[in-house]
Every structure is written in C-alpha cells, then in structure tokens.
C-alpha cells in the first residue's frame, strides 16, 4: 500500500485522475453512445468555443479527456521525465481543454513539429516538454483546415497536418521570445505566443480565402453541471488528502509557498515539495468551485477546462494569495454585466477562472493592483478573441500577455520600488 501511494505521489496522482475520468465515461454512457459521440468530437472544427459536452456528450468527452491524458502520461514515462510543476500544470491543462477543443487527431501534428524543432537544434525532445504540453492550445487550426473549410479531404488533410507541424516547429522559438514581453507575469505564456500565430492565421484565412471564422456552432452544454461539480470536488479532495497522508504538518509549509509572487518559472513541486503542492492544487480547485457557486456559473466544457487549468497551475505559480484578487477583479465586471444584461456569456464566465493567468501581478504588487488587473483582463478578452479567430484555445493567455505588458511597467512606476522595499 505504501509503495502504491509512493508511486502515485511521484506521479502527482495523475494515474488516479485518469482512472476516475475513464471509469466515469463508461458510467454515464454505453459504448455505442461513446463511440458515436467521440467520432463527432474528432470531426468537429473545434474552434473556440466548441463544447465537446454538447458535441459528443459526457461519456465521449470524458473518454476524449482520458485518452489524451493517457497518451501524454505514456509520453512522459517513455521520456523518463519526473513530475515537475510545469509538467503537472501542462497535463491538467491538456485535460481541461480536452473538454472543448483538443482531441487526439488535432494535437499530434503539433507534437511532430516540436519534435522536428528539437532535431534541428540537436537537443533532446524532452528539453521542450513544457512547450509540448502547452502547445496544443492551437490545435483547432488543424481541425479547422480539415473539417471547417469545406475543402475536399485531399486538400484539407495535408493542409491541416502541414500547418499543425509548422506551428509546432516555430512555437518553441516564439514561446521563449514572448516570455520577455510580459516579463513572466503571464503564466499562460505559450497561450500568448499561440495567440500571435492565431492572429496571423485568422488574418490570412479571412483575407485570402474569405472565411467567416465565427460561423460555427458555439452552443454549450450545462446539462452535466452537477456531475462535473462532484468530479471537481472529488478531485480537489483527493489532492488535499494526499498532501496530508505523508505529512500531517504539511500546512506549515503553506505560508512560504504563498509568499512567492508566482512569476514564471515557479515550480512549487521542486521548490516546496509534493505534499504542499498537492494541497495547494486541491485548495485552488475548491476556490474555483466557490467562485462558480457564488457567481451562479453553470459548468460547461469550457468552464470545466478553466477549473482543471486553475488546479494544474496550483503547482506552477498560482495560490490563493495571488489568485483571489484577480478573480475578484474579474468577478466584479462579470456581476455588472450580469446585472445590466440579465445574462453573461460563457466567455466572461471562463475569464473569471482563467484570469488567474495574471496571478503573479497580485503576488508581486498586492491585492488592489491585482483586483484592477483582473478587471482589465476580463474587459480585454472579448477583443483578443475577435483578433485571433478562435484558433488559440488559450485566448485568456493571449489577453493576459497584453494585460501584463501594459500594467506591469505602470505598476512598477507607481510603486517606485528600488529593490530594497521589494518583497519576495
């Protein structure tokens, strides 16, 4: 039993999550329904926001999530990589976005592109694992070119695969460069890099081929709110309990973790240990649950993606002290829109969760600056979505890059700190 727990702890409970998701898929739907729904998922253009819960149903969506997780877990094992903060965050982000845009079909070409990049640089493929795990946020470009253009398959399939491979090939270089733009204050840095590429693709497809990128069905399904809420609570509880099993006094380590700004590259597993990192992941899950319950947000595929991403980054830069202020800032605008219009879009709802991309701003400059940054972020996200055409699933990462680049220099100027006054 101790050996099993040690193994699971080393893998940050990932095998447990996979088994839970896989088992749940077959609890809710039969094999035939899952098969039919899964085919629908694979053939979907998958541009933002394609809710797989609506397209394929709950069973097929969970099957999609579980299979993509399994492939990535196997890849990590083959590459003999240990579970670090960024890898854990990458895996849960992949799981989250497999609820609305990622599938096995549209992610593989991007991996191949990164593999080719590594070969050209003559570095090991595993050196680029962080980019690999976050790269598939741009996978809708592959699905769109194959299933969304109306082109015959003999044109669409090669075009989709070629653009996917090309995207993967340039992404490591672009990601290393964009990190300087926001100085590491946007935790979804690859999302920002992909947003820039998406903007280019969107412009070319709209200008050269006259495609209407926003014509696709973006109906979301809130039918599985209760099931997914229970799943979130279950996963969060598993993480918190796991953190306590080995170390009853694990909470003593929490103040030190929460004293960090969270700025890239903050690996909480490496810096503070697996136990407290797992507790933090669970706490971030409960904070997400609290946020959606307080704001009366129903869980769709996209919202579930947001929850899992927030949890994943609980090992890679997010904690309650830096995340809650930016969430409050975003929630204020969400509530205002809801009050004025009587409803708020799912884009705004998920921004309340994904706004935590800029959590390091609150971690560095404090609560009030964090609230303001959160407010600016949620106002900006609809505009960045229009820019990038929906090919970048990490639209909030794209927006967060601009928010950080605009606000951080201003906040630094206002604070006028000279280094000695700086906190950790």
């Amino acid at each position: 039993m101790k050996t099993l727990y040690a193994l699971l702890k080393r893998r940050m409970m990932m095998p447990v999550i996979f088994i839970v998701l896989f088992a749940m898929a077959f609890m809710f739907d039969d094999l035939k329904t899952i098969y039919r729904g899964y085919l629908n998922i694979l053939q979907s253009p998958s541009v933002l926001i394609s809710d797989y819960l609506h397209i394929g149903g709950l069973g097929a969506t969970l099957f999609n999530v579980a299979t993509i997780m399994l492939i990535n877990i196997i890849m990590l094992s083959v590459l003999k990589l240990k579970m670090t903060g960024p890898i854990f965050a990458g895996l849960l982000t992949i799981a989250g976005f497999s609820f609305f845009g990622k599938n096995i079909f549209n992610t593989i070409p991007i991996y191949i592109g990164i593999y080719l990049h590594a070969r050209v640089q003559r570095l090991e493929f595993k050196s680029f694992i962080i980019v690999v795990l976050f790269s598939t946020g741009i996978s809708p470009i592959v699905s769109f070119l194959i299933f969304g253009t109306g082109w015959p398959f003999y044109i669409g399939v090669p075009a989709g695969i070629a653009i996917g491979v090309l995207t993967g090939f340039v992404l490591p270089a672009l990601g290393a460069h964009t990190i300087r733009f926001h100085k590491g204050y946007n935790l979804y840095n690859i999302g920002f890099a992909m947003g820039i590429l998406s903007m280019l693709y969107a412009a070319m497809l709209q200008t050269l081929f006259r495609f209407d990128l926003f014509r696709f069905d973006s109906t979301i399904s809130e039918a599985f709110h209760t099931e997914l809420l229970i799943l979130t609570i279950l996963l969060s509880t598993i993480f918190i309990i796991s953190g306590f099993i080995n170390d009853r006094g694990v909470l003593k380590k929490y103040p030190k973790l929460m004293a960090t700004t969270g700025r890239l590259v903050s690996d909480y597993i490496r810096d503070h240990g697996r136990d407290i990192a797992m507790v933090n992941v669970g706490v971030m899950g409960f904070i997400s649950v609290l946020a959606i319950l307080l704001l009366d947000i129903k869980i769709s595929g996209a919202v579930m993606g947001g929850i899992l991403t927030v949890m994943g980054f609980g090992a890679f830069g997010k904690h309650p002290r830096n995340s809650v202020p930016v969430m409050v800032g975003a929630a204020l605008w969400y509530l205002y829109v809801f009050h004025v219009r009587g409803e708020a879009s799912v884009g705004l709802a998920i921004a309340v969760l994904f706004v935590t991309a800029i959590a390091p701003i609150a971690g560095r400059f404090g609560i009030l600056f964090g609230i303001f940054a959160g407010f600016v972020h949620i106002v900006l996200t609809p505009f960045t979505y229009a820019f990038q055409g929906g090919f970048d699933l990490y639209n909030n990462g794209f927006a967060a890059g601009f928010v950080a680049a605009i606000l951080v220099p201003i906040f630094e100027f206002i604070r006028k700190d000279n280094g000695k006054e700086m906190s950790s």
Binding site: L123, V265, G419
Partner: protein, 117 residues
C-alpha cells in the same frame, strides 16, 4: 560556442550582478572562463551576509533542468524582486562555495549542451 550558449552565459552574468547589487553589494569580482565544454563563473564577494549566501546556495544549488531552460531562459537577468533567483539554478550544473576570512568564493559550472555553429 554556439550563439545560444553565449546569450545564456551573458544573461547569467547579468543575473548574478543584478542579484548582488539589489542586495547592496557594490564591490565584487566575477571572472568567467571555459574549461573544455564547461563554462566556469567564479564570483568573489567580501563580507557576504549569511542569509544572502543561504539564498544563493538554496536557489542556485538546485539540479539543472534543461526542459525549463528552453522555456524560461529569456527571463534571466530580469530579476524583479530581491529574493528571486529561480531560473539561474535551472541553468547551472554545479555550485561550490568556500569562505575564507571575510571572502566568499562561489564557483558555478555549466556544461554547454547546444549545437556548435
């Protein structure tokens, strides 16, 4: 040495200098040279406070992680807060610290893994 390696090495120099100056050390010596494929940084500081030294030992003394290096190396030399010294530890293979009288010597070593061009 590849251009990429040169860029990383110069950023390490900047990061070390910035960290020391943020902590009020205005006089220090930083020498660097090549030992085969290994870049050596030799840093001499007088009257170094024990907590500063401990921070450096804790953060630089970590195991090198190439997968983080390819992602976050551009942030090197962009230290924002007094206690940030996270990324440099991921780029260094070994750290040796010796103290004699009031003089502390830190020797950092980094093996180049980038393609020669």
């Amino acid at each position: 040495m590849s251009k990429q390696e040169i860029r990383i090495v110069t950023k390490i120099i900047r990061e070390l200098s910035l960290f020391l100056m943020l902590h009020g050390y205005n006089t220090f010596q930083l020498n660097t040279y090549l030992e085969g494929k290994t870049r050596v940084f030799m840093l001499d500081v007088e009257n170094m406070a024990s907590d500063t030294l401990e921070t450096m030992r804790e953060k630089i003394g970590r195991k090198r992680e190439l997968e983080v290096e390819t992602y976050g190396w551009e942030l090197l030399g962009d230290t924002d807060t007094k206690n940030e010294l996270e990324i440099i530890g991921l780029l260094i293979d070994s750290l040796d610290i010796t103290t004699k009288d009031h003089r502390t010597r830190l020797v950092l070593k980094r093996e180049s893994k980038y393609l020669e061009k």
